[in-house]
């Protein structure tokens, strides 16, 4: 244990920087008062947004803020603790309410090492600037030399100036030109989306540059090390915490072809320096092969990507290396950019999303295998959008492009500009470079095609295609403008309901990780009974049963674990540890690890139930914030009828598969009354009003948020009622401990 006099407090840096771009003032302030209740990350950022940005603020007004925050576990050595989160006002969903913009890369850890838990950017500059944080020194610098540049060049130029160990989080032309689909890119291709780039653009803030040489002080470093060793050896799986390999392997009892544990004999990082490196058969209890488990390039881009694969990489502090690093000569020729790759949509935007609606010739062979040209198509788009700082609304941009092309909407609406794009070459599979102009024109927000970058609530209305929302292939799940992020196809009502919760796509992976982990359904049902109270918490894929209380519990747990991870900040793309690859522990995970790490890092004794409660507080706070700013059917601001105004699922989940009834094998179709029941039960689990879905007086008081209760009461938007905390809460502390005999915290 290192002394606090030298290294400062445990876990948190203890302070947040505030930079006002209107008057140039820079200050730091303590975050101690928020730590216990709001943890950090998403909790801090949402608390600041609630307290400081009044309802009704426009996203591009100087009064809007962009708040970056990390949590006590960020950069502490806890596995997967490299994430960070921003909160600001949405630029692309109805009523422009508060959204979270999570990202990985190096930004979060570097910010923490600079001695800050957060950065509040407020006001607006009248000339291009960037914010420089170099440990304690914070300044506003002239960005005129990099304004107009892509994120790659900006990164390089600012690293030349401030050091190659500096992390640059920059906007590209999309943000500068206030395109609602603009993101902030750090570390080449790690994106904080949801329009954050446009918010920074409206403030003329080109970048945040951070250098950090300080320490995250840790109360019990030996326990952090021991817990890490235990977790990596036997609890942690691959990307999305998939815990079985994708192919039959000698060591593994199960395998599942959908698994992201894609390493296998004969599969190589074929472009590795000095010769190919085989991914092989990495096993549990082999901490030094963990980083080979997830071969994401061929998983996403098909077998032809193998020869371009240099290695995998990913976020700071994560042993699950899920991020493709490929060098494709044709991509370099077209874009000028060398290494590319991602782990999410920008790794396979064309083949998985565009082509789900509009075919492109030559992307697959006759048997459906992705071709070499498909790799080029995907990576040209990947390199281009990251450089432009162009966000895709979780692939909606690619689906919308395909829709508007296929239906002739582009031809009808673009006029003469339609002919400026080589649609024929793109669709013939012969002109990957054709994407560059399409995407660049969207990013620059001047040509007509850029309307697609304003989101479906804008373009569907302007171009008279509102029926797109009710079309299954659109994947649009909510009329307020966001698509599915593991929705009804993921445990039916569970995924469907949590897709309604936020003001953008949910980014919840707790449930989909369990769905795709590769264990057999019977075993998963046993595990579901232990974790959420009944085997009927889960259904097999496309073979659903009506809503029940255990599904509500599972849905609640999926939401609070996601929010918790975004507060701590650890990666919800892999956490929580609900299952494990080790047969020796009957494949059970360890749900207490977040709390044990929290205690080891901060020195504060907590249980997982305490942390779930804090996450519930953060979720409820965001809902309360939305109550203040959401407009009712008559357009009046201030509305608490989430059920009828906000949590409205689109029509296609009820109308798809017309020949099959809901709750029969072969469909993930929903049933309307049942979905309303599902909402009611999840609202109840949160202590919210069971009819409206908004926070109640009881629930806010249970969570210690009397100030918020008072605000909503003044607005006449606070119902009484709500189930008291003790009556609705299930205890999770130690729930899997009988499987966790090797957990060092239990024997300490």
């Amino acid at each position: 244990m290192a002394d606090t006099a030298t290294y400062g407090s445990y876990g948190w840096a203890g302070q947040i920087a505030r930079v006002n771009l209107t008057d140039g003032t820079i200050s730091v302030e303590s975050d101690e008062a928020m730590q216990d209740d709001y943890i950090g990350g998403m909790g801090f950022a949402n608390k600041i947004m609630y307290d400081e940005v009044p309802a009704g603020t426009a996203w591009d007004a100087p009064e809007n803020k962009a708040v970056l925050a990390v949590g006590p576990l960020t950069g502490s050595g806890v596995p997967l603790g490299g994430r960070s989160t921003w909160a600001t006002l949405s630029t692309f969903t109805t009523d422009y309410q508060v959204v979270d913009c999570h990202c990985g890369g190096q930004l979060g850890a570097t910010l923490k090492y600079s001695g800050h838990d957060g950065l509040i950017i407020e006001g607006a500059s009248d000339k291009p600037v960037y914010i420089l944080i170099d440990d304690d020194k914070i300044s506003i610098e002239d960005a005129s030399s990099v304004w107009g540049k892509g994120t790659r060049e900006t990164n390089e130029a600012l690293c030349k100036k401030h050091g190659f160990d500096a992390c640059v989080a920059a906007i590209g032309p999309a943000g500068e030109n206030l395109l609602p689909y603009a993101c902030v890119i750090n570390t080449r291709s790690h994106s904080a989306g949801a329009g954050l780039g446009a918010v920074l653009g409206s403030k003329k803030c080109k970048a945040v540059v951070v250098r950090g040489t300080k320490a995250v002080n840790v109360a019990d470093p030996q326990m952090v090390s021991d817990l890490s060793d235990y977790m990596i050896a036997q609890v942690l799986g691959s990307n999305n915490n998939h815990v079985v390999p994708s192919t039959q392997q000698s060591w593994a009892e199960y395998y599942d072809k959908g698994s992201r544990w894609t390493a296998k004999k004969g599969l190589y990082w074929a472009a590795a320096e000095g010769g190919p490196i085989e991914t092989g058969e990495p096993k549990p209890f082999e901490p030094n092969t963990m980083g080979y488990r997830c071969m994401k390039s061929t998983k996403d881009m098909g077998p032809e990507a193998e020869k371009y694969t240099v290695k995998m990489a990913g976020c700071h502090g994560c042993p699950v290396r899920c991020y493709s690093q490929v060098r494709v000569p044709q991509v370099r020729e077209i874009t000028g950019y060398d290494a590319t790759g991602n782990t999410c949509v920008p790794n396979f935007p064309v083949t998985s999303y565009f082509c789900s609606i509009q075919d492109i010739e030559g992307m697959t062979t006759e048997d459906g295998t992705l071709t070499d040209m498909s790799v080029v198509y995907n990576q040209v788009v990947s390199a281009t959008v990251d450089d432009l700082g162009l966000w895709c609304n979780y692939a909606q941009l690619y689906r919308d492009l395909a829709r508007t092309y296929k239906e002739g909407i582009l031809q009808r609406e673009l006029g003469d500009e339609y002919g400026e794009y080589d649609w024929a070459g793109i669709m013939a599979g012969t002109n990957p470079a054709g994407w560059v102009k399409v995407l660049t024109d969207i990013a620059f927000n001047k040509k007509k095609i850029s309307l697609l970058g304003h989101g479906p609530i804008v373009w569907c209305k302007e171009w008279d295609d509102m029926k797109w929302f009710d079309t299954t292939k659109s994947c649009l799940i909510n009329y307020r403008g966001w698509p599915v992020h593991h929705a009804i196809e993921c445990f039916g009502q569970v995924g469907g309901v949590y897709n309604m919760m936020f003001n953008r796509d949910d980014m919840i992976h707790s449930a989909v990780n369990f769905q795709g982990c590769g264990l057999p359904i019977d075993l998963k049902k046993e595990m579901a009974a232990e974790m959420w109270g009944g085997e009927d918490a889960i259904d097999p894929d496309k073979n659903y049963t009506p809503m029940n209380e255990h599904k509500a519990e599972f849905c609640w747990w999926s939401i609070v674990t996601d929010v918790l991870h975004d507060c701590l900040t650890v990666c919800n793309w892999v956490w929580p540890m609900a299952m494990a690859p080790a047969k020796e522990r009957s494949y059970r995970g360890d749900l207490d690890l977040e709390a044990q790490f929290y205690t080891a890092v901060t020195g504060k004794e907590v249980t997982i139930d305490d942390l779930y409660k804090a996450a519930e507080r953060v979720m409820t706070l965001q809902r309360a914030n939305t109550v203040r700013g959401m407009k009712d059917a008559d357009g009046n601001m201030g509305c608490n009828d989430f059920r009828n105004v906000h949590d409205v699922i689109t029509e296609w989940p009820f109308t798809k598969d017309p020949d099959i009834e809901p709750f029969t094998a072969g469909t993930d179709k929903m049933e309307k009354d049942d979905f309303q029941t599902a909402l009611t039960m999840v609202y109840k689990r949160f202590g919210w009003d069971e009819e409206l879905g908004c926070p109640t007086k009881q629930c806010l008081e249970d969570l210690g948020m009397d100030d918020v209760a008072s605000d909503l009461e003044d607005l006449g938007l606070l119902p009484d009622g709500g189930t008291p905390y003790d009556e609705r809460t299930r205890k999770y502390d130690g729930i899997l401990s009988k499987y966790c005999g090797d957990n060092p915290a239990l024997s300490a």
């Binding site: 190659f164 320490a215 590795a272 874009t335 054709g434 102009k437 660049t440």
Partner: protein
């Protein structure tokens, strides 16, 4: 296999100790003897710069028992080695004070001219202590703060260290770092914790050997033109516009 070109600048005088001292060998010699050996070209110049003890005698140990060996092609840049190092040795997570260095090369390798880093070759240089037989960090320390333990490992005595940075400057690879928080230097003691935590087995703690040329190239064979020097456009617009 590529030659490690960055090492050419390094005087390899340390290697000449081989003829005189066996590994883990140990002698106490006078400063005058050291000076004469330097004059004969048998010891590096740095050896004569400062005695490591104040009584005019110099402690020479040959190599320690172990050394870290790295393979950059296997490194995936997670930087768990840096965090693990400092958790074990300092009780905090502080990559900038780690005894192994990944984070400063992750983006652009050893420098923009190398064609390395995640923006270019997706390879980057990892720098680790070579456990030199004649440790220039030790011989250069003006305060005699770098001592040798029974395993032949040089370590920093924090009570003696004043954080002047001479060890950093004298190390051919700039491996020691002066911690910005404590103002004290730190160097690798071959504890192996970084290797334990490497998810790709890119770091190994091995029986001592000369690792000067073992860590792979320090630049890529086919560096791409620099984005900031060749492109004044965005999104690859050169082709499209």
């Amino acid at each position: 296999m590529n030659e490690n070109t960055a090492l050419e600048q390094v005087g390899s005088g340390a290697d000449r100790l081989d003829a005189f001292f066996t590994r883990r060998g140990f002698v106490k010699v006078s400063g005058a003897f050291v000076a004469s050996m330097v004059a004969l070209g048998l010891l590096p110049d740095e050896a004569a710069a400062q005695p490591t003890s104040s009584n005019g005698q110099v402690d020479y140990y040959a190599a320690p028992t172990h050394v870290l060996k790295v393979n950059r092609a296997r490194c995936t840049g997670c930087q768990r080695c840096e965090m693990s190092c400092t958790l074990t040795n300092d009780g905090v997570s502080q990559p900038a004070a780690a005894r192994i260095h990944v984070h400063d090369g992750f983006q652009y390798g050893a420098g923009l001219d190398t064609g390395d880093g995640i923006f270019y070759s997706a390879e980057w240089m990892i720098r680790q202590c070579h456990m030199c037989k004649a440790a220039m960090c030790q011989t250069a320390c003006p305060h005699g703060a770098i001592l040798t333990n029974d395993n032949g490992v040089r370590y920093v005595d924090a009570d003696k260290c004043v954080g002047c940075g001479t060890c950093v400057a004298s190390c051919p690879w700039n491996i020691p770092v002066v911690n910005t928080v404590t103002g004290k230097s730190a160097k690798c003691i071959a504890c192996g914790r970084c290797a334990d935590q490497c998810p790709n087995g890119a770091i190994e703690l091995v029986e001592w050997e000369n690792v000067n040329h073992s860590s792979g190239p320090t630049r890529t064979e086919d560096p791409a033109p620099l984005v900031s020097e060749t492109q004044d456009y965005v999104g690859g617009g050169k082709i499209a516009q």
